[in-house]
């Protein structure tokens, strides 16, 4: 019964998709279709809007006449947040659908195997909206991504840098680092320790916190050694509560810096606001520019809701940039040829273009006449570094009665300038 229901649901969805394709191709009658692939976790609820936003960008490009003379069809496959499923899906898209570009994946754990075992060997360009691991940066530095890799989501390096910036601005001489013992926590703590040390802040210790322990006293006791002036924490709220309470009760400093994961009412209530007066948090942010607000308006008009989910603005930009690069590369271009054009569509000296149908049309004209453009999208003026990474503005926040408030907005230029001083 359930299977039958599921099957009929799938048929219905396919019919709908076909209907949509049919609809758009009758509107803009062109005699060819270019396919691009998307490997996204559509089986989880926060993954579907990411895919829908990518499709939104494709639709805008098609309204502007498609890319390189053809209408674009986005072939979407589910990763189920599973590396094996994701690799299979990406392989099918590359081998059977012959896509030159893959959008995705979301989790770094899925993105990395797709990149190393599918995209790079096949010479397909991969653009991720959401993976933040600096492991990929390392791959790029070793030359293993062959320039085929881009992402529109800032790496954990941004938060680590902003955490360091806060420690410096508060004048902390010594800091102990506590981190969640998983890929994300290990990555962000390693980056934070490195950037703090480069500024001469003494890191007294860096301690892994495992979840679900009977007590965190031993870890906190270790952390207290060397009397650190401040504490940096990249923990999840559940262990965070136990660790912070233990830390305070053993006389630890109230000078705390926290990663975005600890932006939680639960943590604030359980620890008590009176002990969190000197606690500052970090988070990445969307830039405060016109193009970002314009995306919010466009999104609301299309989906009747705010783009509040994770990675939506990033997914939109990832797709738009891929499509612009395809336009610049011309008909039947390979993944490598398309990837080589990314610099031309995100050129700081190029003509600014907006992220809508009119902007896309304008970009087509400029690119076809051999010029370059500066894409101004949902995450601002996207600019990739040599490793395909982007930077992002950040915010510092603090706890208040009703939740959290923004203490300070750190612009992209400030973040970039600060990160440059540490290298």
């Amino acid at each position: 019964m359930f299977v039958r229901f599921f099957k009929s649901f799938r048929c219905l969805r396919q019919a709908l998709l076909l209907g949509m394709v049919g609809f758009s191709s009758t509107l803009y009658a062109q005699n060819c279709t270019t396919k691009i692939g998307a490997v996204l976790p559509t089986s989880v609820d926060w993954g579907r809007p990411i895919a829908a936003t990518a499709q939104f960008a494709v639709d805008l490009a098609n309204e502007a006449g498609g890319v390189a003379g053809c209408q674009v069809e986005m072939v979407l496959r589910d990763t189920q947040v599973d590396p094996k499923v994701g690799v299979d899906a990406a392989k099918a898209l590359v081998d059977l659908e012959k896509v030159p570009v893959l959008l995705g994946a979301v989790s770094s754990g899925v993105t990395i195997p797709i990149l190393t075992s599918v995209a790079v060997p096949a010479g397909v360009m991969e653009v991720s909206c959401c993976s933040s691991s600096t492991k990929i940066t390392a791959l790029a530095e070793e030359g293993k991504t062959k320039g085929l890799w881009f992402r529109t989501f800032a790496t954990s390096g941004v938060q680590a840098a902003v955490g360091t910036m806060l420690a410096r601005d508060q004048g902390y001489k010594s800091v102990v680092v506590l981190y969640k013992n998983d890929d994300w926590g290990q990555d962000i703590s390693k980056l934070t320790v490195r950037s703090m040390k480069s500024l001469g802040i003494n890191v007294t210790n860096s301690i892994a916190i495992n979840d679900g322990q009977a007590s965190y006293r031993a870890e906190v006791t270790e952390a207290l050694k060397g009397n650190p002036e401040g504490i940096y924490m990249a923990l999840y709220p559940k262990e965070g509560i136990s660790v912070v309470r233990e830390w305070l009760s053993l006389g630890g400093s109230q000078k705390m810096i926290m990663a975005n994961s600890m932006k939680s009412d639960e943590l604030k209530d359980s620890v008590g606001l009176k002990y969190l007066k000197n606690a500052l948090g970090t988070d990445t942010a969307s830039p405060r520019v016109e193009s970002a607000s314009k995306f919010v308006e466009m999104y609301k008009a299309r989906f009747n809701s705010e783009p509040n989910g994770p990675g939506l603005a990033n997914s939109f930009d990832a797709t738009m940039i891929a499509l612009l690069a395809m336009e610049a590369a011309g008909p039947n271009a390979s993944g490598t040829q398309i990837a080589a054009q990314v610099g031309k569509v995100t050129d700081p000296k190029g003509t600014p273009i907006t992220a809508d149908t009119a902007g896309f049309k304008k970009a087509k004209e400029i690119l076809n006449s051999g010029g370059s453009v500066m894409y101004q999208g949902a995450t601002g003026n996207v600019r990739f570094d040599a490793n395909g990474d982007v930077s992002a503005p950040a915010v510092a926040w603090s706890f208040t009665e009703s939740g959290t408030k923004e203490e300070r907005y750190i612009t992209l230029d400030e973040v970039d300038a600060f990160m440059a001083t540490m290298q």
Binding site: I207, G212, Q213, S215, A218, T221, R245, G251, S270, V271
Partner: protein, 304 residues
């Protein structure tokens, strides 16, 4: 070093209380009860509810007992929670384990206990939500015992340790000085033989669940005092408690106490030599070490 030892003893006392009940059940009912640790959560949440009730009705009970962060209402709530948890253990046995005991074998019981653990954990999340809760939002500050070497102790910890030791002593007296205690030991040793000598077996089984459940409740409440209360207490503590039980020797109440302290102290001391990322492996290393040296556990005896 001394600080880690002290902290280890504290965690050990919490694990010991949980392990006593587990070892009794495992020995008398002959199955590894993976749902035992869920009784810790039941106890902690029951105490939370009673504490709230008593505090609401009798406001004078809400005053804390200096220098502890405990309130009188929580002390009362602990007693009620122990009874409620003991009764829920009996209820679970009546609904699930007894039926399987009559029809299936030991392995079915083990699988059933996994199922019971899931049901209990999810019922608790459904009723109370996934959010972490605390008996008291105030932070109890530690007292400096010595500055060199730095030794810090929280009054609550001392209370938990003394209370655990008293309960264990009481249980020891019951086991070694009363007819009921002898009967309990007899049932644990050989249920059929015990029945022949006139021990009411089903009554003894109920008593074992009641004692195991109430000690588990105490363990869960003390964990909550020391840490926080959330629906996954059982899941988080099931392995250390099993480690304590196995290391001490299944069936030996004193072994369970010893095993609890061993696991608690070793996990704390391990941090001095191992990076903290490896500390969850310590209980397993203890199990392996003990089983290689003494296959029946430190105080366990080979079953005839």
């Amino acid at each position: 070093m001394i600080q880690h030892l002290l902290d280890g003893i504290l965690v050990g006392s919490i694990l010991s209380l949980g392990a006593i009940g587990l070892t009794l059940v495992m020995h008398t009912l002959r199955f590894a009860n993976f749902s035992h640790a869920e009784l810790l959560s039941v106890g902690a949440y029951a105490a939370l509810v009673f504490d709230g009730l008593f505090g609401a009705f009798y406001s004078q009970l809400r005053s804390t007992i200096e220098p502890l962060s405990l309130t009188w209402s929580l002390i009362l709530a602990i007693l009620f929670a122990m009874i409620v948890t003991g009764l829920s253990a009996i209820l679970i046995d009546k609904l699930v384990f007894r039926r399987i005991r009559e029809k299936g074998d030991e392995l079915s019981m083990v699988f059933a206990s996994f199922g019971v653990a899931m049901v209990v954990r999810n019922l608790i999340s459904l009723l109370f939500g996934l959010k972490s809760q605390l008996f008291s939002n105030d932070i109890a500050f530690a007292i400096v015992i010595s500055r060199d070497p730095m030794i810090l102790v929280k009054p609550d910890q001392v209370f938990v340790l003394i209370a655990s030791l008293l309960v264990m002593l009481l249980f020891h007296l019951v086991l070694s000085r009363t007819t009921f205690g002898y009967a309990l030991q007899a049932v644990a040793e050989n249920p059929v033989l015990a029945q022949i000598t006139g021990v009411n077996l089903s009554r003894m089984f109920r008593m074992i669940w009641l004692i195991g459940g109430s000690l588990a409740a105490l363990s869960g409440i003390f964990y909550g005092l020391n840490n926080q209360i959330n629906p996954v207490i059982g899941r988080d503590l099931v392995l250390p408690i099993f480690a304590a039980t196995i290391a001490g020797g299944i069936g030996s109440v004193y072994g369970a106490v010893l095993g609890g302290f061993l696991v608690g102290i070793a996990s704390n001391l391990a941090l001095m030599i191992l990076p903290s990322g490896y500390s969850p492996a310590v209980p397993f290393l203890i199990i392996l070490g003990v089983l290689i040296l003494r296959p029946n556990g430190i105080l366990g005896e080979a079953r005839a």
